[in-house]
């Protein structure tokens, strides 16, 4: 079976740098981006199974990225991670189709759990 693919977008490189090996250890195929334009170009080529994106970024911000991704890859699941976690942003991202919303800083375990759930849902959409 093909590996589940994950795209991580966060303008702070540390997030991708640390998540990538952790998720690869779990058997996922991971690509990381720190710039939303580059990430979007890549999305034009391929739909990742799961997206993990920050919200507040230069250029195209996470909310816009989320919309573009859901538009282009409706079957993909998006997990939003943000250091500006408020009820409002959480609600907005969930209504725009995000699968989960995680406040930064987070435990690595939290992301792994969220990713595993997203993967399950992709495989058995209810």
């Amino acid at each position: 079976m093909a590996k589940t693919t994950i795209c991580i977008l966060d303008d702070e490189a540390i997030v991708g740098n640390r998540l990538k090996p952790e998720l690869e250890d779990e058997g996922y195929e991971v690509e990381t981006f720190t710039d939303s334009m580059t990430a979007l170009k890549r999305v034009d080529e391929t739909c990742f199974d799961i997206f993990i994106t920050d919200l507040k970024m230069e250029g195209i911000d996470g909310m816009a990225f989320l919309e573009r991704v859901k538009d282009r890859c409706p079957k993909s699941e998006v997990i939003v991670i943000t250091g500006y976690a408020t009820m409002e942003t959480a609600r907005e991202s969930l209504t725009k189709g995000a699968y989960d919303f995680i406040a930064k800083p987070f435990r690595i375990e939290e992301i792994k759990t969220a990713v595993a759930k997203a993967k399950k849902r992709r495989e058995n959409p209810s």
């Binding site: 702070e12 540390i14 930064k104």
Partner: protein, 851 residues
């Protein structure tokens, strides 16, 4: 932050211009409570940041800068609050705070701040947190020294202060900036840029004062026989946290003679800009981080035998063997000409040699085949091999990578570590290795996902269960420390441990902080570890996945050793560590010490402690005796106990019904921490009714002692006084001839919970008072406090435990306050300490319960 700073200084200006004012007593409560709230909020942020150093969280720069901003705001506001209620008595606080914040902001931006540091530090004088002053190699050596049992040759380091002097004196700053900028834009020109920079460095002149200091340090190091003195001079670069990545890039000079002290300095400095160093910085994208080069000088060891230990075989890292080579002679490393013995040694006790090559002959001691040809003796005994392996693996556990260690054994048999760096594993060997991922699959799991991870990593060894402090002495190197509780004294064994598991404990507690400091994989709150694990059983603790395996999973240990650099090498993590050094430690623990001043504050925690104490003093200094406090709304506590106690409620500390009364019943106390103390103070047996025998010596001595308040010297009223809030108590008790202070915040959120305890003074001579201090300290340690004793002064603290655990500690403190009253004259000799310790502990329900 700057806008906040300026609006703040305008506030400050207003305050200074304002008229002299007296804040009404009732208003003081509100201000004081505000100070407490901000204090607790700041402590919670500090605990949160500290908890992020364990590697279990992913955090970014925004997290760091947000928290620094929040802390800065809280501390500035509190300084303002204090100055408001004290009629601007501490204006210098603002400058102190801004000074610390400026350093924090510099850390956030990746710059190093060490403007006024001494030019030279001797290795044994390097203190915690001086990484960015002395450089990583020197700092790590000082840390290895703290591991004890590892011999490190004496030496000193020329600090970043010396480096900057050198650049400034020779006008080199600008030239370097320009050249580095050019490096980024024209990477192909890196070689000529490097040559240019190195020539500039070599051609400079050492500033006169640095020259004097350097020569003086050299004289001190070399002693009388300067002509015979030989030194090793090496770089100790900044920003090489974890340290080892730059190994081999910067120069090391060996056999440096005294007259080469100065020229060797310049040579090492110049290597900061070697081609390899610049390429490395370019590749790692750290060219813009400030470059600085402290330089390390160490005495060379006259070795009888010396050599190199690779803790893993670099060509076959999956073999569970170390390679040890040794040759007789004084060389720092084994030279090409001398006869070299090579040993392949199994990586676990008793370090069996599976193969040895003595001189040019190979021999396998493990095989029973008789060797007919005569062979000369190897140059190491098995005891020496074991000692080198013990130390090598200790360093491997500490640095989390396979190590390449140069060692020497001198004529007296002492083992010295001359150099320690990360072992380079060739890419080919690594490629083959890293294919195996779930290396631990198939190993039996003892338990998983229990408790919280305090530090991420892999550790393995035999289980050693620690029940009390006596057990610590026998703790074996490389053992897995297993304990029911996480008392601060456990921290003493941590440097020797390969992993730590406790049943109960907090990620932000003192023990966990020390575990992070020493990078020991640690799980706290596993609940069932002491039930499931028995002493001597070999286990592997994987706190990255939070799994405890049966047996030693060598594949997993090696996999982790050879993996890409750990979280600790990320810039965010390094910045967090640097920030915390300037934020979290509490150095101002004694309000009566001469350095308890704004200028004495080294960290934000110190500043908060100072503000809290001074605000409290200003709150209580207005009353002189219990009557004057009662006039201002204080309440006398109705009790049969022989204790006169006045309670002042700043909000939520006493039940509403008590408002009109001058006296209140103990049942009216609603303050959580005060309730707990009172439970102890009023419990049966606390106030012994037995007459206390006063011998003549003790009595005479008491005649010359003054009252408690003067003992403490801090101008607090001579009244037993408790200032109460719902979650807060500040209790000061000049009971008889001693003075006890308890400050506690306790509520449902452990991050806000803390207790600090102080005890001093008392009748009788200093020997007996010191005995009493030892006894009190012993009791406090057993119930989970971190304790410091200076003479007869006891200072103890406990942080971030659950409400019920901290309430229990306060209960014991309540009992202790009553108990200490009798102690003045009872402790006639040192044996009495144990006797009264046991007597006291009998009164506590469960003496083993340190939480």
């Amino acid at each position: 932050m700057s806008s906040l700073g300026s609006s703040f200084s305008s506030l400050k200006g207003l305050l200074q211009k304002g008229k002299k004012k007296q804040v009404p007593f009732s208003d003081l409560f509100i201000w004081f409570q505000d100070i407490l709230e901000k204090n607790n909020a700041a402590l919670a942020i500090i605990a949160d940041m500290d908890g992020k150093t364990g590697g279990d969280f992913i955090f970014d720069k925004k997290y760091l800068s947000d928290n620094v901003k929040k802390l800065a705001e809280l501390v500035r506001r509190n300084a303002y609050n204090l100055n408001y209620i004290t009629d601007n008595r501490y204006p210098e606080l603002y400058g102190v705070i801004e000074g610390i914040i400026k350093k924090l902001e510099a850390d956030l931006s990746g710059k190093i701040t060490a403007s006024e540091v001494p030019k030279i530090y001797f290795l044994d004088k390097i203190e915690d947190g001086m990484e960015d002053v002395v450089g990583c190699k020197a700092y790590n050596i000082s840390r290895i020294m703290a591991l004890s049992e590892v011999g490190i040759p004496d030496g000193f380091v020329v600090t970043i202060g010396g480096f900057r002097d050198y650049l400034a004196y020779n006008n080199l700053f600008e030239a370097i900036d320009t050249a580095l900028e050019k490096c980024k834009n024209e990477p192909e020109a890196i070689e000529s840029i490097s040559n240019g920079l190195r020539l500039k460095l070599l051609g400079g002149e050492i500033p006169p004062s640095l020259r004097r200091h350097l020569l003086a340090a050299g004289e001190q190091l070399c002693g009388a026989r300067q002509d015979r003195c030989r030194l090793a001079v090496r770089s100790s670069g900044i920003g090489e946290d974890g340290s080892l990545s730059f190994a081999g890039i910067h120069d090391s000079l060996l056999n440096v003679q005294f007259h080469e002290l100065l020229s060797s300095y310049k040579k090492v400095l110049a290597s900061l800009y070697s081609k390899a160093a610049l390429e490395y910085r370019l590749k790692m994208d750290i060219l813009s981080l400030e470059m600085a080069m402290p330089v390390l000088y160490q005495k060379m060891v006259k070795s009888r035998v010396s050599g190199v230990l690779f803790t893993l075989d670099p060509n076959d890292p999956d073999r569970d063997e170390s390679i040890l080579s040794a040759g007789s002679g004084i060389g720092e490393a084994v030279g090409g000409d001398s006869e070299v013995d090579t040993f392949r040694v199994l990586r676990n006790h008793p370090y069996t040699v599976v193969n040895q090559q003595v001189g040019s002959k190979t021999h396998s001691p493990a095989s029973e085949e008789p060797d007919v040809s005569p062979m000369k003796d190897p140059c190491l005994t098995h005891d020496e091999i074991a000692a080198i392996m013990d130390t090598g693996l200790l360093l491997e556990r500490f640095f989390k990578v396979p190590m390449d260690i140069e060692w020497g054994i001198d004529e007296d048999g002492q083992l010295w570590i001359l150099q320690a760096r990360q072992l380079n594993i060739p890419a080919s060997a690594l490629a083959q290795h890293t294919q195996q991922k779930n290396v631990a699959d198939g190993y039996p799991v003892i338990f998983r996902n229990r408790g919280m991870v305090a530090y991420r990593g892999i550790g393995a060894g035999p289980v050693y269960i620690v029940k009390d402090e006596q057990d610590l002495g026998k703790f074996p190197k490389g053992g897995v420390l297993v304990s029911q509780f996480s008392p601060p004294w456990l921290a003493r064994a941590i440097p020797r441990a390969s992993a730590v598991i406790t049943d109960i404990g907090s990620v932000t507690g003192h023990m966990a902080t020390v575990a992070r400091e020493f990078r020991i994989p640690t799980i706290v709150g596993a609940q069932i570890a002491t039930q499931l694990l028995e002493a001597g059983r070999k286990i592997t603790v994987d706190t990255e996945k939070n799994i405890v395996y049966e047996g030693i999973v060598q594949e997993l240990i090696r996999y982790k050793l050879l993996e890409k650099p750990s979280f600790e090498t990320t810039p965010e993590f390094q910045i967090l560590r640097r920030l915390l050094k300037k934020i979290a430690p509490l150095y101002l623990t004694n309000p009566d010490a001469p350095n308890f001043t704004p200028k004495g504050c080294r960290t934000l925690h110190d500043v908060m402690r100072f503000i809290h104490e001074k605000a409290f003093q200003s709150l209580v200094k207005s009353g002189k005796n219990s009557r004057s406090f009662i006039k201002r709304g204080g309440k006398r506590l109705k009790t049969d106990m022989p204790i006169d106690l006045v309670l002042i409620d700043i909000g939520g500390g006493l039940a509403k019904t008590a408002k009109e009364e001058v006296c209140v019943d103990p049942e009216d106390i609603t303050s959580i921490p005060m309730k707990a103390i009172w439970k102890g103070l009023s419990s049966p047996g606390t106030w012994s009714t037995e007459p206390v025998p006063v011998d003549m010596k003790g009595f005479m001595s008491s005649m010359t002692r003054t009252q408690g308040t003067e003992i403490m010297g801090n101008a607090l009223p001579n009244v037993n006084l408790a200032v109460l809030g719902a979650d807060y108590v500040n209790l000061s008790m000049p009971l008889g001839y001693h003075f006890t202070t308890v400050i506690a915040s306790i509520g449902s959120s452990p991050q806000n919970n803390n207790i600090s305890f102080r005890f001093a003074g008392g009748v009788t001579d200093i020997t007996r008072r010191s005995r009493r201090a030892s006894l009190i300290a012993k009791i406090l340690e057993v119930i989970g406090f971190k304790v410091e004793i200076t003479g007869d002064l006891v200072i103890a603290s406990s942080v971030n435990l659950m409400e019920e655990n901290m309430a229990r500690q306060l209960f014991v403190i309540g009992k202790l306050i009553g108990f200490t009253r009798q102690l003045d004259v009872l402790l006639k000799n040192d044996e009495d300490i144990d006797y009264y310790f046991n007597k006291f502990m009998e009164q506590i329900d469960n003496p083993a319960n340190p939480q």
